[in-house]
Each structure stands twice: as structure tokens, then as C-alpha cells.
Amino acid sequence: MTFNSVQYLVFFPIVATLYFLLPHRFRWMMLLVASYIFYMAWEPFYIVLILASTIIDYLAGRALAITDKPRRRFLCLLCSIATNLGLLFAFKYFNFATRILAELSLTLGIDFTPPEWRVLLPVGISFYTFQTLSYTIDVYWGKQPTERHAGIFALYVAFFPQLVAGPIERPGHLLPQFRKHHSFDYFRAVSGLRLILWGLFKKVVVADSMALFVNPVYEDPGNFPAPILALATVAFAVQIYGDFSGYSDIAIGSARVLGFSLMKNFDRPYAARSIRDFWHRWHISLSTWFRDYLYIPLGGNRAAGLRWCLNIFLVFAISGVWHGANETFVVWGALHGLYFLVGAALAAPYNRFTGLLPDVLRKTAVPLFERIVTFVLVCFAWVFFRAQSIGDALEICTRIVLESGSYLSTRWIPAAMGLVELAPLEIAAVLACVLVTFLVEAFQGDEDQSLVFERMPLLLRRAAYLFLGLALLRLSVPQEIPFIYFQF
């Protein structure tokens, strides 16, 4: 079941109604059953993996609570990490690893045909694995008390709004909320519904329309001229933002209607002024997870020199691997690591240089320049994220840069318009919707999107609802385009 489906539009109101009608002591049960139904609507068998993760981590947490001996505690942690990462490896990385092994053996002249395991990637496995790992690690570190209630813990692992694509929650934030009694709050529900509407708009209108253009270009990049490749890359930047932040908005909005608060996952990432800033704004729940559970244990800011550089690079490379079992994601992560390190090395001389500029330039041109450079760097990395192979990505990058002459011609424009199977007026309307998305989010600042609606005069607010509803109906794409992050 996906958020942009009629099934969810029926499922969610039923769950919300039952939730507020039931006495508090039964609510966790109802939410747990609903979460399992939500997951099993996709592939019933894979609920076994969630149950396995839940049981192992619950037992690990209980075991950690009853022993003080460091060796035993460490064994409990190791058992949890090995099980969770083992499942993740088996279902997500096994074929990738054997393929790499086979390619290496071929280079060494060894005849090795790896076994292939034909399995479907369980939706959301990377997300709930990281969420449940954060529980065991926090309990091990003594930051989080052990959850004794098996049902509440199972709900923490499987809570449906954020089960399949985050935000990746922390036990200290989410677990206590399951014990709190939430009464129905009209204003909170309206705020959640606004966020759901905004998220649907970003996914169904903005992201899916961009996909119509991006998919054919990236499936066969050799057939398209440089301007179309460049435009498709920018369109992918818009698509992945609309797709993933739209999903997060619907997740946060759904949880809010029920009375739960989920952490913010995006904060206008394309307004970032550096790569470091970008990672404070993009997929915040994952970047903070890596910061807390990988970067800091590796030494964090206390490490210096080469060690620090290595740590940063490692964290970004692993973050790339987390996204998918393909070399393209590793390169994407490594590129961001490289950007980060180069940015850190250039920060001091750059700040000295900008310090010499007049105030007016420092306040206007410099931020604009920084945003453009950051956006271009991010787009360059998106090429590797989206391309089907490293070869395709390199071809796209090379041609975008080297075929500069083709930008002067306008012959590619009709070809680009013909790709999307939309009438010119529809293309204009979609572009207007993209503009509206970024304008609304620019006005919103670092606050919640629903506040933008709240501050509008009544008539304008109603017109805005009508506009979003009409856009959802008229500009929706008549194709099933899955959420990009479902594959992770």
C-alpha cells in the first residue's frame, strides 16, 4: 500500500477513527495490526523479516537490561547488529557482493560463477533496520531505557507512517509517544491533513511529472543531445526532492493526525550554501543517524588530519551503499564525501576572500553564488545516483560538459517536449506547479508547510486547497510511478 493510493485514502481514515474511538490501552494493538496490514499489502511474506528484527532487538534490549558485564553487553549488541545487518546484506547486498567478487575473479583469471539468489528487495528494509539498530545501540550506551512492553516495541519498529521510507526515528523520541494518551485535536488534525495534501501534490504532480521526462532520457542517454541530458538532470533533482520530501510530508502529516510527532526530514535542501549545509537539510533523519551512530563513534570532530578525512569519506561512502546495491550509489556517496572534504579545506581561504568583499556583495551575490555552486555540485552527483551504470553516468557528464555547442541550438526543444507525452499547456502548468512548490517552501522558512496555509486569509486558503485539488486531479500522471526511496 502506498500513500498515493485509494487504498491508503480509505485505510488511513478508518485507522484514525478506530484509534480515537478505542480506549488508550487498546490503541497500540490497533496501530500494530494496522501497521502490519499496511506492510503486508505489499508482500505478506516479508513481514517475517520485520518480526525477526523485532524479536531479536526486543530480546537484545531485555538482555542488556539484566546484565552489567561489559563483555555480555557487547555480545548482546553484536548479536543484534549481526542479525539486522545480516538480513540487510542477504536481501539487499548479496547479489551485488557476489557480482563484484565474480568481476574480481575474472580480472585475476579465476573461473568463478557466483550463486544468484533471486529475491525481491523487501520494501523499507534499510529504514526499519536502521531504526531498530538505533534502539539497541542507545540501550547499550545507556541513553535509552529498555522497552519492556513487547507490543509497544513492535510498534516502534513497524509504525506504518514511517515504516517503509522514514523518517528514521529514534527510540528516545518515538517510544514515549506510544504511551501518551492522544485526544483528538481538530487543529492538529487539520495541520496534519494539510501536510498530507502538500506531500501528495509534491509527489503526484511535481515528482511524477518530472519522471515522465527523466525516465526515458536516463534509460537511454546515448540517444539524447547534451541540453536534454542537462535538463533531465535538473528535472531529476526536482523529482527526487518532490518524491522523497512529499513522502516524508505525508508520513509526518499522517502521524500528526493521530497525535504523533515525527522528526523533520527536509529543510529546503536546494537553498543550501554548501555541501555541509546540504546534508543538514537533506534526509535529515538519515544524516543524523550516520552522525550519531557512525561518525561520532569513529572519533567525530575529535579525530584530526588524515584520520578525520578518512572518517568523513567512509561515512559518505557507506551512506551511498545504504541507498542501493550498485556502484553508482557508492560513487554518489564518495562524491559527496569528496565535496565535503574539499569544502572543509577551502573554507578558511574562501571566508578570508569573502571578508574582503563589500557588504552589499556579501549579502546578495555571495549567497546566490554559493547556492548555485552547491546546486550544480549536487546535480552532478545526482547523475551517478540516477544513471543505470557508471558508464552511463560518465557518458552523461562528459557530454553535458563537452557538447557545449549544442546548447546554442533550439532544435532539441521540440524533442524534449515530445518525450513527456503532455500537451504544451500541461507542460506549462506542471512547471508552474514546480515554481509554486519552491516558492511556498521558500516563504515557509524553516517552519512547517501547514503554517503557510494557516497564515493565509480564509478566501485565499480555500482557493489554495482548490488549486492543489485540481492539480492533483488534472495533472496527475496516468502511470504507476513508485516512490524512489521504496527501492532502498
Partner: protein, 358 residues
């Protein structure tokens, strides 16, 4: 960090009551009615894009105003680039039968389940169809064919099934919100459905699709495509066969004469790729088909093995696309079959001999 506990607590303490349920219900209903009305007005003023419109256009009534209707696939209108005679089978047959004329229900990607759904067109009061020619491409019988994700095909089926304005106007959002599937079979089903070769599991439909995408126009791709399309054992439960039987029954019940014909296949090329197993399997599938049709007291026109390699499309020799001599032969055989059904006695010279070894 954005998830401070204080913020959560503050948010939860803000308890509001809002309007009464009645006012709320009226407000929501009002919004939905206004939205639906505005959308319908917008839809009428600003019709859908070509992708959806194309499916609607296939459902035009004009074709059913002719006495003979041709249910066909891409082979009905195909001609090879550079050919002098660029008439498709349908156009040739139309010229051969100037008095009655032949209406077209043919398009690239059309298959037997769609023909069955298109029968609703024949039930229009203005319909004058008395004979339905039904193309049976042996490829139709393979899951590799009928499970293809063809949005155009699904749109056509949807518009045939629901022809009211509201259903048509809301097609886009219904697909976008997963209420209507734009593809016949989901990827997960295609990934699970096996294809067989020589009684052993070969690939799944999904794997075959990915393989063909990666290995386009290679000899191995040709062989894989031939196995996937022609070597799948046919049974009475096959969805395409069931659709054919349904269509034949519907035609008969409506007083329309069905003339199913099995399109020619390139048996020489098939045997070159797969050996004698190619003919054995296709003969077996034809026998199953003929037996099921015989139960309905219908004998199909079997042209499967009539034509030599030379008359098939050069680029895709395993397709049922024919060059002019092949198309002429099929059109003539169809004309004869119609005449025979009409009770007209044919002379030996009516149909030229098949281009094969003639």
C-alpha cells in the same frame, strides 16, 4: 535538531475543538462538490493529453458501420520501409471486398482479451457488422505477450468498459491513485511467471523482458524471444484462449459470424533458431486451439505454416509482419474464407498459390 522533546510536548498541549461534526461534514462535502465541478469544467475545456486521447480514439464508432470488422494486431497494417505496395492486409482486403468494406479494430499491441472487450462496440444500435475476422497470432498465447505492460492497451480496455463522461474524465487521477491499473499485469507478477523451454523452466517473464532490453538485436535475443513467444505450452486455461472462446460465443449469440485465422509464422527461421522443437510446439498449440474452437463448432483458418522465410519482415523475422506477397496471400485467403462462409463457390484460381515454393 528538529525533534526536541519540548517541542513535542508543546505541540501536544495545544488542544483544539474546532467546528461541530455537522458543520465539518457540510464543509468537506462542499469542498468535494466544488472540486469535482471545477475539475469537470476544466476537463471539458481542456481535454486530456494525447496519450489518453489516443485510447479514446480507438473506440470510434465509424468502423462498426461496415459489415465486416477486422480484429487485428500490428500485422494488419504493417508494411516494410521501401516497399512499393504499402497497403496492409486490412487495406488489401478492403479493396478486395468493395461492396461490403472492412472496418478496422486493429492496432499495434491489440490482443485477444482486448478484442473480447471491444465486442461492446458491436452491440451499438447503429452497428452493421455481420462478420468478425479475428486475428490469432500464436504469440498471443504466451504470457510473455499477454502480460506485457502496455498502458495503451489498458486505457483502451478501460474506456471500453466505462464509457461515461465521469469515468473518462477521472481516468488520470484514478490511475495516479492506484484505483485503476495502467498495466495488465504488475511487475511483481511478471517477475514470478515462468516461461518454459523443452519442459524446463527457462526464465520468468520479467527476466526475459530485462534480458531482451539489454541484448537487443543479438542472435541470443532472437532465440530468447522465439522461445518466450512461441514455445510456451498452450492450455484451455490460457487467458488469451479463453478470451477467444468468449469472443466467438458472443459473436455467435449476437448473430455475427466469427472467422478466426491463425496468422502465418516464420517456421523456417524458428527451426533454424530452435530446431524441430519449434514446429512441434507450435503444432501442439494450434491443435489445442483448434480442438477448443471445434467444441464451439468453428474451424479456424490456419495459415501458420503457409509462408516461406522470405516474405517475413527482414529486421524481425520472428514477428508476424509480412512483406507485400505475404500480405496479399493472407488477404486473399481471408477473402475466400468470407466468400465460403457467404456460400459463394470459389474457383481454383481465386487465390493465388502461397508464395512458398510456388
Amino acid at each position: 535538531m528538529s525533534y526536541q522533546r519540548e517541542q513535542v510536548a508543546a505541540e501536544f498541549e495545544q488542544v483544539g475543538h474546532g467546528p461541530s461534526p455537522t458543520v465539518l461534514f457540510v464543509q468537506i462535502a462542499g469542498y468535494l462538490i466544488a472540486l469535482a465541478a471545477a475539475y469537470l469544467a476544466l476537463w471539458i475545456a481542456w481535454p486530456n493529453a494525447k496519450s489518453v486521447e489516443a485510447a479514446r480514439r480507438t473506440m470510434q464508432l465509424a468502423d462498426v458501420l461496415r459489415p465486416i470488422l477486422f480484429f487485428g494486431d500490428s500485422s494488419a497494417e504493417f508494411y516494410e520501409e521501401g516497399e512499393t505496395d504499402q497497403r496492409g492486409i486490412l487495406a488489401m482486403l478492403d479493396e478486395m471486398l468493395p461492396e461490403s468494406g472492412v472496418g478496422s479494430a486493429a492496432n499495434s499491441g491489440f490482443t485477444l482479451p482486448l478484442f473480447r472487450d471491444m465486442f461492446t462496440l458491436l452491440q451499438q444500435p447503429k452497428s452493421r457488422v455481420h462478420t468478425a475476422i479475428i486475428c490469432v497470432n500464436l504469440g498471443f498465447l504466451s504470457p510473455a505477450w499477454y502480460m506485457r505492460p502496455d498502458p495503451f492497451y489498458c486505457q483502451s480496455r478501460y474506456f471500453l468498459k466505462y464509457n461515461g463522461i465521469a469515468a473518462q474524465a477521472f481516468y488520470r487521477p484514478l490511475v495516479a491513485f492506484r484505483a485503476v491499473s495502467p498495466v495488465s499485469y504488475a511487475q511483481v507478477d511478471r517477475d514470478r511467471t515462468p516461461l518454459y523451454f523443452e519442459n524446463r523452466r527457462f526464465l520468468t517473464v520479467g527476466e526475459m523482458e530485462r534480458f531482451l532490453e539489454a541484448a537487443q538485436d543479438t542472435p541470443e535475443a532472437d532465440r530468447t524471444a522465439a522461445i518466450a513467444i512461441y514455445m510456451q505450452p498452450c492450455t484451455a486455461q490460457n487467458p488469451s484462449v479463453q478470451a477467444l472462446i468468449d469472443l466467438v460465443r458472443k459473436c455467435r449469440d449476437a448473430g455475427i459470424r466469427p472467422i478466426p485465422y491463425i496468422s502465418p509464422i516464420n517456421v523456417e527461421h524458428g527451426e533454424k533458431l530452435l530446431g524441430p522443437a519449434f514446429r512441434e510446439q507450435t503444432e501442439h498449440n494450434i491443435a489445442v486451439l483448434c480442438k477448443l474452437l471445434a467444441d464451439e463448432e468453428i474451424e479456424p483458418l490456419n495459415l501458420a505454416f503457409d509462408l516461406p522465410h522470405e516474405v517475413f519482415e527482414k529486421r524481425h523475422p520472428m514477428s508476424t509482419h509480412l512483406t507485400a506477397p505475404g500480405r496479399t496471400y493472407v488477404a486473399q485467403r481471408l477473402r475466400d474464407a468470407i466468400a465460403q462462409a457467404d456460400g459463394v463457390v470459389q474457383t481454383a484460381t481465386t487465390t493465388e498459390a502461397a508464395p512458398a515454393n510456388s
